[in-house]
């Protein structure tokens, strides 16, 4: 589209936006008291004389079995902020012990006045392969869904809560007994919420519910690497009646075979 202006220019008027900061509600509520304005985030443009940062990242050992831990060690120079994906901001130099459940690329970014630098290290996690079939059905047989659900019962939660109730504790310990006897089984825990409340918040709450159920199994001796959690919030309703009996069925941590 071609637009030709024959009158004043928009830019002058545009600046008035910030100056006036008008809105209809502004007039209703304003007391003239602004929240303290902070300067914008610092520019990432390198300063003229700043030294470029350097970064190294090492892992010891670089290959482990599931359940073992690795020490990450990093060194940086000329860096103001340093972060490792999955861990977050860290000191410029340091080390941390991690326990990845699958092979993982650790990625570090160091940012300073002179720019940014990155480094990677790969940690290989050896996942034990099932024994050859025949020796023990437990070791490579995940069994049937029916057998699983007979022994591993869902756990239910109170309204807007992710604390395990006594009945959920007992379901979880019964489930753990079964899972400890069937080491080939991997489990996915789904976190669900009832239809009330807001969809975004319920996804976070469902995550807390699924993690609470997972933690109960871990406390009862099931390896954390066998359990995956997925929050469904209120996106996958088991039932849709607007009644407490239905809400209760939706507020649950549901165990399934993770095939």
């Amino acid at each position: 589209m071609i637009v030709m202006s024959r009158t004043g220019r928009r830019t002058t008027q545009g600046r008035m936006y910030a100056a006036i900061s008008t809105s209809i509600v502004a007039l209703l509520l304003t007391t003239g008291c602004h929240k303290k304005s902070k300067a914008p985030l610092p520019s990432t443009a390198p300063a003229a004389m700043a030294q470029a940062p350097t970064v190294t990242l090492a892992a010891d050992p670089v290959a482990i079995d599931v359940g073992q831990s690795v020490t990450l060690t990093w060194r940086t120079t000329n860096a103001n902020t340093v972060s490792i994906d999955g861990i977050g901001s860290v000191d410029p130099n340091g080390n941390q012990t991690v326990m990845p459940s699958t092979s993982t690329n650790f990625h570090i970014t160091a940012t300073g006045d002179g720019g940014s630098a990155e480094a990677n290290v790969r940690v290989t996690v050896r996942v034990p392969q099932p024994q050859s079939s025949g020796s023990s059905s437990n070791l490579n047989d995940m069994g049937t869904d029916a057998a699983f659900h007979a022994a591993v019962k869902d756990v239910f939660f109170d309204y807007d809560s992710y604390d395990l109730r006594p009945d959920a504790q007992s379901n979880a310990s019964q489930a753990a007994t079964y899972l400890n006897a069937h080491p080939a089984i991997k489990v996915v825990v789904g976190g669900y919420c009832d239809e009330r409340g807001s969809a975004e918040y319920n996804l976070a709450l469902g995550e807390n519910r699924a993690n609470a159920a997972k933690q109960a199994l871990v406390s009862a001796g099931v390896s954390a690497g066998r359990i995956r959690v997925v929050s469904y919030g209120k996106e996958k309703q088991f039932c849709t009646e607007a009644a407490e009996s239905c809400y209760q069925q939706n507020r649950r941590g549901q165990f399934n075979l993770d095939r």
Binding site: M4, R6, T22, L28, C33, G197, S198, E200
Partner: protein
Amino acid sequence: MAVMRLHQTPLRRWPVFAGALLLACSAAFIPATFCAQDTVFTGTNKGADRIRIAPANFHAQSGDAVGLKQVFDSVLESDLKNAGVFDVVSKSMEPRAEPSAPGDINLAAWAGGNTNASYVAFGNFGITGGKVMVNAYVFDTHNAQYPQVIGKQYVDAASEEAARTIAHRFADEIILRLGGGIPGIAETKIYYVRAGGGTKEIWTMEYDGANPHAVTHLGTVALSPRVSPDNSRIAFSALGKDGFQIRVFSLLLDRMVNFNSAGGTNISPAWSPNGQLAWSSSRSGDPEIYVADASGNGARRVTSFRGPDSSPTWNPKTGSQIAWISGRSSLPQVYTMEADGTGVQRMTDGGYATSVSWSPNGQFLAFAWNRKYGPGAPGGQDIYVMEVATKKWIQLTNGMGQCDFPTWSPDGRHIAFAVGSGVRGQIWSMLADGTEKHKLVAGDMPNWSFR
């Protein structure tokens, strides 16, 4: 009218009387809507009027231009009505004339009688060689010597979409010029979730509900669309085999682009004005707010407290504060903090508060609040606006169903929100004082573009 008062009143004076008005309103909570009447707009209670403007029917330069011209006329009229700053003259009150050019208009006829317009928008609409050419003017009816306020020419393809776009641009020009220097929103878009067939996809539409169409076709449950400040990307969360993860769709490339989530459930993205993303990630086992670049790199955790943390929104004015929803003290509440996680403040004092959105001027938070939440409790979830500095609030919806996901228009004069959810959800729009509510489309989780 508010804006006109601002123009005419020294700026340093208005906070005083507006503050007095606020106290008057909050001292008696019930008449919040009453307070939202005339006194709200003027701050003086002296009845300053909105600018009265008459959109004349444009003159079609040829017979084949009539159809598109009528689209143009109706979109222009609708945009001016939606702006919230005009008293738009009904077409039935206008003179029977289609002034085509400055020489054709009889200003006295528009200034007097039932028309009584302060300004008149008019012009001509022609099609030549497959192109639309529109010459558009705004005249001040009370300035006979130099009446022209705006004169613009627009050229575009001869299509209905282009006719709508030209009308939007001309409306925005008028709003900018007469509405206090704040750019209009007629060219803005709203992104939202559309449910159907067991899936939820990201859709988009024009700000007035026109031209709704799908952006994603992922065949899964996609939630929480947020368009980037430069309108180049949409971040959202979508259900995959590892649960909900942040996904980013490039509107420029028309395809998904990479985002590094690094484990856990990742939901509710929010763009800062300089293009960073904040979102909720449970990579640590507990949902917390993280901030990273637009690809998810360099993620840093900014909250650290047991319990759900979700739905961040940046202060679009400063880019240095985040409001979000936290369940750290049981039921979810609105909190604010600096973007580095310091200075945490709880904003709501109880009930169930979710889906916070920070106003473009940085002064207000809009959110959904059920103030008496609990099994069997009366009342519903409605849209509220709170002033950040004082924590004083007003209720903007009442009795129209479960309201959620308020989102501010870039001019701060409008709020879109969802009523109901899922396949029964509807998206509504209103002025930011709660007036002039109207339904736009079927949908959920609206997000208004930054510009």
